[in-house]
């Protein structure tokens, strides 16, 4: 179709037509078959919140068990399952899907002026696969046979000889299952970010949030295959009798560690980079200032993931590798610090030279910077190989990575929940309880995690289900447990505040913060079609360009780029963001959830070791895929 239609109907009529065109099916069926990135984002949000609750309960059980010496709240066997599931849940089922699935899905199309993700049905598929993989792995916990060898699951402990139950099969299959979903999400984000930006949004005008998500997605895309290979080898070792990791038959136990950390370290940056993206969204809005050194920050977000692929063996400094390899990986570990320091000083200096309004979202970002710097500084210590070898596998490391993963990766998610709450719900949250929830969380997490540095230095190894008195660890452990419960109070207050605000909050209007990016240019909550007209972009802060927004309104009246004649959005060139074509987008579809169901059946049969039945179920998957492709959306 043509780019412009003759300006006969009024703007109101055009919007009505868009409304009709993009309207989704009402009710439960609408949610099950939706391909709307906002609805999928919300599905992700609720599902990951459930997993966050599960992982949180596991954490509190662990902390209660360790609150005093020789506590017998849980058995050693249960404890092993709890800490393994806590790690798996928080990494694979909370932070990654919350930051990419929920925040990314909801916000990226809005920020780049698109109407949906590039592949909406694939987007739905990745959600249903994610939910199914979560149910799959949690089934094992309810059966009492959850993975029990830690989230990095070292062999030979995880091999059949020492772990005879189904526990580890749930681990390897669950991880592969979940990886399919994450891989789809990653590919989806990359294509959307490169191809669906509004005309005019060249890469140098793309919000830093999108750079961060681009970095995270590229990281996932290259790291996950290595993890899948690793877990497939383990599944074969355990179920088919291969000897990839069996030292007695020429295999290598260290091979598991190399492959795992080749994924595992980039994974840490994949967890943290979206949080950096959220920080670079909130800081300009609450300082009313453009980011300092924008291009450097964008490059740093990408570099942190790229260099992150070269540091994996610093998790293995005590394995007896030759010194020359250790020194190489220590040097890489030093290099990966630089992109982070660039960002820290860019954030701080933006805040110093702007006019910082310390509303709840910015408080969480300030807390994030504090926690990230603390965790980063202890991280720097690990490049001193002898010190790393002293404290690795102790609570010092637990302290370090919880400062990073909880303090730095999750605090911005909390801040982001407050920041985008008005956009998603159309309501304002309550400010004072919001600020109180921040301070409770800030005090709680520091009380929870700081003493872990000390007990680690005092010799407490990680993953011990109990410890004896007289080692000097007791008081610190009690303090940590109290901190854990304080943190719980903070989270409950945060969620309670958001729930109350949802029902009783004041109307927010489209742009309560005078935010810089395009999501604030549309109404709150955004309409199904996101933008009545594909917005004009001439800078990296398009919502701060009033002339361009005026131009949008004029285009709506004239019918330019309204695309009200079909379920359509524009595609642009990857670098310059030049208008390329108009593409017809798929409507809602039952095939994603059907395909996810058939894939779940395959994995269920595999874990039951019914390989023949699994093959039959795989045929069902192929049939579902054929159904999926029976009606392709037409390009026009």
């Amino acid at each position: 179709m043509a780019v412009a239609t003759p300006p006969t109907p009024t703007a109101g009529e055009r919007v009505d037509r868009l409304e009709l065109m993009w309207q989704s099916r009402p009710g439960v069926l609408g949610w099950l078959t939706t391909t709307d990135h906002k609805k999928i984002g919300l599905l992700y949000f609720w599902a990951t919140l459930v997993f966050f609750a599960a992982g949180g309960v596991e954490a509190l059980l662990i902390r209660t068990q360790l609150s005093q010496p020789n506590e017998k709240l849980v058995s050693p066997n249960t404890y092993d399952q709890l800490f393994t599931m806590h790690g798996i849940t928080m990494i694979f089922f909370f932070i990654i899907p919350m930051s990419t699935g929920a925040f990314g899905n909801y916000l990226i199309p809005l920020m780049i002026g698109a109407r949906d993700m590039a592949f909406p049905r694939m987007n739905a598929l990745s959600f249903w696969l994610f939910a199914a993989s979560g149910i799959f792995i949690y089934t094992s916990l309810f059966l009492g046979i959850a993975p029990n060898a830690g989230w990095f699951n070292y062999v030979p402990l995880a091999n059949r000889q020492f772990d005879t139950g189904r526990n580890i099969d749930f681990y390897s299959l669950g991880i592969i299952f979940n990886s399919i979903s994450s891989t789809l999400t990653a590919g989806q984000f990359i294509v959307t970010i490169f191809k669906s930006r509004a005309p005019g949004m060249s890469l140098n005008r793309m919000p830093l949030f999108c750079f961060a998500y681009l970095a995270a997605s590229l990281g996932l895309l290259f790291a996950l295959p290595v993890l899948s290979a690793d877990t497939i080898l383990l599944f074969l070792d355990r179920n088919v009798g291969t000897h990839f990791f069996d030292v007695a038959h020429g295999g290598s136990a260290l091979l598991w560690q190399h492959l795992f950390w080749f994924f595992g370290h980039p994974e840490v940056y994949i967890l943290i980079v979206p949080a950096m993206g959220i920080a670079t969204s909130i800081i300009p809005a609450f300082t009313q200032r453009k980011m300092v050194a924008f291009p450097l920050v964008a490059i740093a977000e990408l570099l942190v993931v790229f260099i992150g692929f070269g540091v994996w063996a610093h998790h293995m400094f005590a394995t007896g590798m030759p010194t020359i390899s250790l020194v190489f990986f220590a040097a890489a570990t030093a290099m990966v610090v630089i992109p982070s320091t660039i960002q820290v000083f860019a954030w701080c200096w933006s805040m110093v030279t702007g006019t910082a309004r310390f509303r709840t979202p910015l408080l969480f970002i300030a807390g994030f910077i504090f926690m990230f710097v603390t965790g980063g500084l202890t991280g720097i210590m690990f490049l001193a190989i002898p010190f790393d070898q002293q404290v690795t596998d102790t609570y010092f490391v637990i302290a370090h990575f919880h400062y990073i993963i909880f303090g730095a990766a999750v605090f911005p998610l909390f801040g982001g929940m407050y920041y985008w709450f008005p956009k998603v719900t159309g309501k304002l949250y309550y400010e004072l309880p919001g600020q109180i929830s921040f301070w409770i969380l800030f005090v709680g997490t520091n009380l929870l995690f700081f003493p872990m540095h000390i007990v680690g230095l005092l010799g407490m190894p990680r993953r011990v289900y109990t410890y004896s008195d007289g080692l000097g660890w007791t008081a610190y452990n009690l303090a940590e447990t109290i901190g854990g419960y304080v943190t719980l109070v903070g989270i409950l207050l945060l969620l309670g505040n958001l729930a109350a605000s949802y029902f009783r909050g004041a109307p927010a209007g489209p742009d309560p913060w005078h935010g810089p990016t395009l999501e604030w240019a549309t109404s709150s909550p955004p309409p199904d079609y996101d933008f009545p007209v594909i917005p004009k972009v001439t800078s990296a802060y398009p919502n701060w360009d009033p002339a361009d927004r005026q131009e949008d309104r004029r285009k709506l009246a004239e019918g330019v780029l309204v695309l009200d004649e079909g379920h359509e959005q524009v595609a642009t060139s990857p670098v310059d963001g030049l208008f390329a074509e108009i593409v017809e987008m798929p409507h809602e579809s039952p095939w994603p959830i059907i395909l996810a169901l058939t894939v779940s059946l395959v994995f269920t049969m595999l874990v039951l070791q019914k390989f023949g039945v699994a093959a039959v179920m795989a045929v069902l998957c192929v049939l579902a895929l054929l159904g999926w492709h029976s009606k392709e959306p037409q390009e026009s």
Binding site: V344, F370, T374
Partner: protein, 334 residues
């Protein structure tokens, strides 16, 4: 002196009273240099954190002075050059500091904590990891013990470690950094303690159900005491002295005990559990889980599964006088 640099109250907690497994109470050259490295890094870390906190507080103070927070309508996004800050503090400063740390720690300090060359020490001790205890052998002698390692003071000792099952990690923080015990490979580390004493260590790599109860002691003896201990340890077991102990010895040899344990000089030669030739000479049982006294020994034999659930030793069906006899025998194995 260096500790004065440290800006943290944490210093009070860390270097105060002496504790069992404290990496900051070094008792060897190796642990000493590692602890020093830490104090310097921690001082630097506090300064770095203080700088960032200062910037955050500054942003708050400056905004206050401009009357922020009441009304931001009309405030225009401002662009000011912050490049020099980001390039200076975010790139140049860390490159200098990180390079310095890298050179000191990874090119110089690391030499101290590296594994000693094969023939560099006169004494080699082999440690073999098991779920969940440590087998200890002294190269060139018949001495075999478990969980309690004796070494001479101010003498470099090469510790060769490997695992019989899963990965473990040998860690006595006051004496040196840790080293993993792996199946199929032998790793090495040096122990060279400054002072006579008893040092606690613990398995640091998760190794299954009883990872928490895989402790060990390193006893640093005077050189003469160590020579006596080693000579004694290499001898076969003492013959039982009382009638009760003799009865216990018969039960040990014919009952289930001998299917797993060795006592040199008797018919018990199995290698599944710890060597018990001189078990009464050890201060603890079950990898430093309980003290080695008569009551605990009896409890361990009869109810090891409630003391250390999941360990390889089953609860032995020995009660009353029969249990007393075995205990009397083992208590005589000094």
């Amino acid at each position: 002196m260096r500790r004065l640099l440290v800006l943290a109250p944490a210093v009070l907690f860390l270097s105060g009273c002496r504790r069992a497994q404290n990496s900051l109470e070094p008792r060897s050259h190796q642990s000493h240099v590692i602890a020093n490295l830490f104090w310097w890094m921690m001082g630097g870390a506090w300064i770095g954190l203080a700088l960032v906190v200062f910037l955050l507080l500054l942003s708050r103070a400056r905004a206050n002075r401009r009357g922020f927070g009441r009304d931001t309508e009309g405030l225009k996004p401002a662009e000011r050059p912050g490049w020099y800050v980001v390039v200076g503090a975010g790139i140049a400063m860390p490159i200098v500091l990180l390079s310095t740390l890298f050179v000191i720690a990874d090119l110089f300090v690391i030499r101290t904590t590296e594994a000693p060359a094969k023939s560099a020490t006169r004494l080699t001790v082999q440690v073999i990891g098991h779920q969940w205890w440590w087998e200890v052998r002294y190269r060139g002698t018949d001495a075999v013990t478990a969980n309690e390692i004796h070494i001479p003071v101010r003498t470099p000792v090469r510790l060769e470690v490997r695992s019989d099952d899963v990965i473990h990690s040998f860690w006595v923080p006051e004496l040196n950094r840790k080293i993993d015990l792996e199946p199929g490979t032998t790793n090495a580390i040096e122990l060279d303690a400054d002072r006579v004493g008893r040092y606690r260590g613990q398995c640091a790599e998760f190794c299954g159900l009883q990872h928490a109860h895989m402790g060990m002691y390193v006893f640093v003896d005077s050189r003469a005491a160590f020579r006596r201990w080693l000579a004694h340890e290499a001898k076969p077991a003492a013959a039982p002295e009382s009638a009760l102990a003799r009865r216990g010895a018969r039960m040990f040899a014919t009952g289930s005990c001998a299917t797993c344990h060795t006592i040199h000089g008797t018919s018990a030669t199995s290698n599944v559990g710890p060597d018990l030739t001189h078990v009464a000479g050890r201060t603890t049982l079950a990898a430093v889980t309980i003290d080695n006294d008569e009551q605990n020994l009896a409890a361990w034999i009869a109810h090891s599964q409630s003391i250390k659930p999941g360990n390889e030793m089953p609860d032995i069906e020995l009660r009353g006088a029969r249990l007393d006899a075995v205990v009397a025998y083992l208590r005589g194995l000094k």
